[in-house]
C-alpha cells in the first residue's frame, strides 16, 4: 500500500485511524473494534455473526466450539474441572521448565541444587512451591473431574472412548506427579519412590517383576541411573504421552459436545450437539470471558496459598542406608499404602490396582442403564459413593496413624521431634528451647516460663501418660528432656524415657538431636512462619 496517495485521498487522521482499525482487527483475528465494544456491552451479535471469524482464522480458537448449550455453561454443571486440568498441565509445564534451569539429575548434584534453588535463586522457592502445589492440585482436580463425570453419567454412549482416554489421563497424571517426587533427592522422595517401585517388583511372574523394577530403577536400588530415568520420565516421556492423550480426549469432548444435564433430554438420547438457536451461548465473548476470569481467579488463589499457606518440603539428603521412621507415600497414594498394610504386596500392590484400573475403564460397558438421571441410577451412584468411602478409609489406613506404631518411647519422641521433617520442637525453634533439664513428673509451671516450651513439655508428659495408659508393656513411665549448649548457637536435646515392662524389668530409651539457631523447619501445609523476616532485620 502506497502511503502517500492514501493520505492524500482520505486525509491524515482518517488514514491513521483506518490503519489502527486494520491492525486491531488482525490482532483479534477478525473482530473489529466496534464489535469488541458491542461484546463488552453485552449486546447481541449481528447476522451473520461477525464473532465467528476468529474460530476459522486463529489456530488456538479453531479447536474450541463456536457456541455451547446454555445449560452446560453453568458453573455447577462441570465446575470447569476439565479446563482447570488443562490449565494446570500448562502451568506445570511452564513452572517446570523454569525449575529445570537450576536442576541437574544426578545424586551428587540434585540435592545441592535444591538448596541452591531455595537459598540463592530469587523466586526459587516461590517457583518450586507453585510447581508442587500445582502438581497436587492437578491430581485432585483430575480426580474430581472424573467423579463429576461419573455422577452425571456422562461416560455413557456415545462417550465411552472419551471416558477411556480420561482414565488414561488420570493414570498419567498420577505417574507424572509421582515421578517428580524423586527429583529433590531427599529422604522423603527417596523412600516414597523406593516403596512405589518395589510394588513393580511384585508383578508376577518374578522375572517380569524384576525386569520392570530394574528398568524403572536402573539398578537393584535407586541410584544415579534411577534418578536420570525418573527425570526423563517426568520432563519428557510422560508429558508427551499426556499431551497426545489430552488432544484425543479434547477432540472427543468437542466432537460429542459436553453432555447436557440429564433432565433436559429424553432418556437414551444425546442431544448435546443439537442446540436450539435460543439456547446458544457463543464462545466469543461469553465463554471466553468466563474461562479467563475463572483461570485468573484460580491462579490468584494458588499464588495466595504459596505466599502464606504452602511450602514444598525438603528433608535431609537421600540416604539409602537409613530408612526414616514412618515413611509415607504422597497423599494421593495413601490408599495404596493402606492396602499394602493389610494384604500381600502382589495382591494389594499389583492385582487389586490392576483390577481397579480395568474396572474404571470398563464402567461404560458394565453400566448398560441408558438413563443418566440420578433417580434411575441408584445402584451406580450408591456403589460410587461406597467406592469413595472405601478409598477414604484405605487412605486413612495408609497414614502412620494406622498399624505401624513403633515402641511407645520411640513414638513419644517421634511425635515432638521426628527423624525427618519439622515437629513441634523444631517449629518452635532454638529460641524457645531453653537449656536445662525438664522432667515429666514435675509440674511444668515450676520448670519454665516460656509459653511455647511449656506447651511442648506438657505434650511430652501427656504423650507418655497416654502410652502408659494403653500399653501393658509400658508402665510407671516418666521421661526427661535435657537441653545442653554444645557449641555457640547449637543445642543438644537429649530425650530419656524410663518405664517398667510387664515383667517388672526397668527399661529406658535415649535419643538425642541437635538444633541450630539459624535452622528453619517448616510443615508443608499451614500458615507460614515469617519470624526470620523480623529476626534478620534485628540482626543487622
Amino acid at each position: 500500500m502506497a502511503v502517500q496517495p492514501e493520505v492524500e485521498k482520505k486525509g491524515f487522521m482518517s488514514s491513521v485511524l483506518g490503519l489502527v482499525d486494520d491492525t486491531f482487527t488482525r490482532v483479534t483475528a477478525g473482530i473489529s473494534p466496534g464489535e469488541v465494544r458491542r461484546m463488552l456491552r453485552g449486546e447481541a451479535p449481528g447476522r451473520p455473526n461477525p464473532r465467528l471469524k476468529p474460530h476459522t482464522e486463529a489456530f488456538l480458537l479453531h479447536i474450541k466450539p463456536t457456541y455451547y448449550h446454555e445449560s452446560v455453561t453453568r458453573f455447577t454443571h462441570t465446575f470447569r474441572l476439565g479446563l482447570l486440568s488443562t490449565y494446570l498441565f500448562l502451568f506445570e509445564t511452564i513452572t517446570g521448565l523454569i525449575l529445570m534451569v537450576w536442576y541437574t539429575p544426578s545424586p551428587n548434584q540434585a540435592y545441592v541444587d535444591m538448596i541452591r534453588l531455595l537459598s540463592n535463586v530469587p523466586f526459587g522457592q516461590f517457583m518450586r512451591d507453585l510447581h508442587r502445589i500445582g502438581a497436587e492440585l492437578m491430581v485432585a482436580i483430575v480426580t474430581l473431574h472424573m467423579v463429576r463425570t461419573y455422577l452425571t453419567g456422562s461416560y455413557k454412549a456415545p462417550r465411552q472412548f472419551t471416558w477411556f482416554t480420561g482414565v488414561i489421563l488420570l493414570v498419567l497424571t498420577l505417574f507424572l506427579s509421582f515421578s517428580g517426587y524423586l527429583l529433590p533427592w531427599d529422604q522423603l522422595a527417596y523412600w516414597a519412590v523406593t516403596i512405589g517401585t518395589s510394588m513393580a517388583e511384585a508383578v508376577p511372574p518374578a522375572i517380569v517383576g524384576e525386569t520392570v523394577n530394574l528398568l524403572a530403577r536402573g539398578a537393584p536400588d535407586i541410584g544415579a541411573n534411577g534418578l536420570l530415568r525418573f527425570y526423563l520420565l517426568h520432563v519428557l516421556f510422560l508429558p508427551l504421552i499426556l499431551f497426545l492423550f489430552f488432544f484425543v480426549h479434547y477432540y472427543k469432548v468437542v466432537h460429542f459436545g459436553i453432555s447436557l444435564p440429564a433432565n433436559e433430554e429424553e432418556v437414551g438420547q444425546d442431544t448435546a450437539n443439537r442446540i436450539p438457536a435460543d439456547r446458544r451461548v457463543y464462545f466469543l465473548p461469553d465463554v471466553l470471558m468466563d474461562e479467563t476470569v475463572f483461570i485468573i481467579g484460580f491462579s490468584a488463589i494458588m499464588v495466595l496459598a504459596v505466599a502464606f499457606f504452602f511450602s514444598a518440603p525438603l528433608e535431609s539428603i537421600a540416604n539409602p542406608q537409613s530408612t526414616p521412621l514412618h515413611t509415607v507415600a504422597p497423599w494421593y497414594f495413601y490408599w495404596l499404602q493402606g492396602m499394602l498394610k493389610i494384604a500381600d504386596k502382589m495382591i494389594a500392590g499389583v492385582i487389586l490396582p490392576g483390577i481397579l484400573l480395568v474396572l474404571l475403564i470398563a464402567i461404560p460397558y458394565l453400566d448398560r442403564n441408558p438413563s443418566r438421571r440420578a433417580k434411575d441410577r441408584r445402584v451406580a451412584i450408591i456403589s460410587g459413593v461406597i467406592a469413595g468411602v472405601v478409598m477414604i478409609i484405605l487412605s486413612w489406613m495408609g497414614t502412620p496413624q494406622y498399624a505401624v506404631s513403633a515402641a511407645p518411647a520411640v513414638e513419644v519422641v517421634q511425635e515432638l521431634m521426628p527423624e525427618e521433617g519439622a515437629g513441634a520442637i523444631r517449629e518452635a525453634g532454638y529460641a524457645h528451647v531453653p537449656v536445662g533439664v525438664f522432667d515429666s513428673r514435675v509440674p511444668v509451671e515450676e520448670q519454665t516460663t516460656d509459653e511455647e516450651w511449656r506447651a511442648i513439655v506438657e505434650e511430652f508428659s501427656a504423650s507418655i501418660a497416654h502410652f502408659d495408659g494403653i500399653d501393658p508393656e509400658f508402665n510407671n513411665a516418666w521421661g526427661t528432656i535435657t537441653v545442653t549448649q554444645d557449641q555457640p548457637s547449637l543445642r543438644r536435646i537429649l530425650w530419656e524415657i524410663h518405664w517398667v515392662d510387664s515383667e517388672g524389668v526397668e527399661e529406658n530409651f535415649k535419643r538425642f538431636f541437635f538444633l541450630h539457631e539459624d535452622s528453619l523447619y517448616w510443615e508443608q501445609y499451614g500458615l507460614k512462619d515469617f519470624r526470620w523476616l523480623t529476626e534478620t532485620q534485628e540482626g543487622e
Partner: protein, 295 residues
C-alpha cells in the same frame, strides 16, 4: 426454567466479570510484589538455615564417631587425639604445618583422608579415613557437615586464654610455643582426693582404644588394643604369677612389660604413673574388673 437455590453464584454481568478478573489479577500482582520484597531476607534466612542444618548433622556424626578420641567437647584426650576446640588450633596450627589452604579445607581433608601415619607422633591411634572417596563410611556431604560442625567452635575457641587452651604439641611437628599449653597431660589433682575411676577411663583416653562393652575373642579383636569386656576372666591367665588385679595394675603402669600377641608395643602411653596416684590406678583397675564382670 426453575432457578436453583444457588443461582446467586452465577455472575452474568460482563462488567462484573471483568472487575472480578481484574481484582484477581491485581491480587496476584500484589502477592508477586510481596514475594519480591521479602526475597532478599528470605534467601539470607535460607542460606543460614542450611548452614545450621549442616552443623546439626555434623554434630550428630561427631557425637557418634569422633568423641571417643577427640572428647565430647572436642578438647581432645591426652595421648589419644588432639584438641579441635582450641585457640591454637584455630590460629596457629596451619602456620606451624605450613599448610597453604584454609582451615576449613584442612579439616575437611583430614576428616576425609585421615592422617597418613603415627610414626613419630605421640597419638595412640591414627586418624582413620572417613570420606567415601578414601574408603571410609561418610559421604562427601557428611564430611562437609562434620567440617561445618568443627569450624563452628571457632567463636568459642578464640575466647580461650592460653591457660584454657587444651592444645598439646605434636611430637612430629614444629609447634609455636604457647605458654600454658598442656605440655604434660593433667596429673593427679593437687588436693590429693582420688578421682572417680569411670571419669579417669574417659579423661585418660582409655576408651579411645579399649572397648569395655565387647569381649576380646579370637574373632572379635579390638582394632588398636584388646577389648576389655571379658577382662575379669582373662586377666588372671595372661602372665604367670600375676593375679587379675596385679596384671591390670601392672599393664597400666608398665604397658610394655607384656604385650598381648598381635598388638604393637609403645602404643599405650607409658606415663600413667605420673598422671594418676597409685590409689587411683588401683581403683581404676578394680573398677575395670568389676565392669567386665557385670557385663
Amino acid at each position: 426454567m426453575k432457578r436453583p437455590w444457588y443461582n446467586f453464584i452465577y455472575v452474568r454481568s460482563p462488567i462484573a466479570k471483568i472487575l472480578l478478573g481484574g481484582a484477581a489479577l491485581l491480587l496476584t500482582l500484589a502477592l508477586f510484589g510481596f514475594t519480591f520484597i521479602i526475597e532478599e531476607p528470605r534467601m539470607e534466612a535460607q542460606t543460614n538455615s542450611w548452614t545450621g542444618r549442616s552443623i546439626e548433622k555434623g554434630a550428630e556424626i561427631f557425637a557418634n564417631n569422633c568423641t571417643s578420641c577427640h572428647g565430647v567437647d572436642g578438647k581432645g584426650l591426652p595421648g589419644v587425639a588432639p584438641a579441635l576446640h582450641s585457640h591454637y588450633f584455630f590460629t596457629q596450627r596451619l602456620t606451624d604445618l605450613g599448610y597453604a589452604g584454609s582451615l576449613h579445607d584442612y579439616v575437611a581433608g583430614t576428616v576425609a583422608a585421615g592422617r597418613p601415619s603415627k610414626a613419630i607422633s605421640q597419638w595412640a591411634q591414627i586418624m582413620p579415613t572417613w570420606g567415601v572417596n578414601y574408603g571410609g563410611p561418610l559421604r562427601n556431604d557428611q564430611v562437609q557437615d562434620v567440617t561445618a560442625f568443627v569450624m563452628n567452635w571457632e567463636q568459642d575457641a578464640l575466647q580461650q586464654t592460653a591457660e584454657e587452651d587444651p592444645w598439646q604439641p605434636f611430637q612430629d611437628a614444629k609447634t609455636t610455643d604457647i605458654s600454658g599449653t598442656m605440655a604434660l597431660p593433667p596429673s593427679a589433682p593437687a588436693d590429693g582426693e582420688a578421682r572417680a575411676p569411670q571419669d579417669l577411663f574417659t579423661v585418660m583416653g582409655c576408651q579411645g582404644c579399649h572397648n569395655l562393652e565387647q569381649d576380646q575373642t579370637a574373632d572379635n579383636r579390638g582394632a588398636i588394643a584388646p577389648n576389655l569386656g571379658n577382662l575379669d576372666t582373662e586377666a588372671g591367665n595372661m602372665v604367670a604369677g600375676q593375679d587379675a588385679l596385679t596384671y591390670v595394675i601392672n599393664s597400666i603402669t608398665h604397658p610394655n612389660d607384656f604385650i598381648v600377641e598381635g598388638y604393637a608395643a609403645g602404643i599405650m602411653p607409658q606415663n600413667f604413673p605420673d598422671r594418676m596416684s597409685a590409689e587411683e590406678i588401683a581403683n581404676l583397675a578394680q573398677w575395670l574388673l568389676d565392669q567386665a564382670a557385670a557385663n
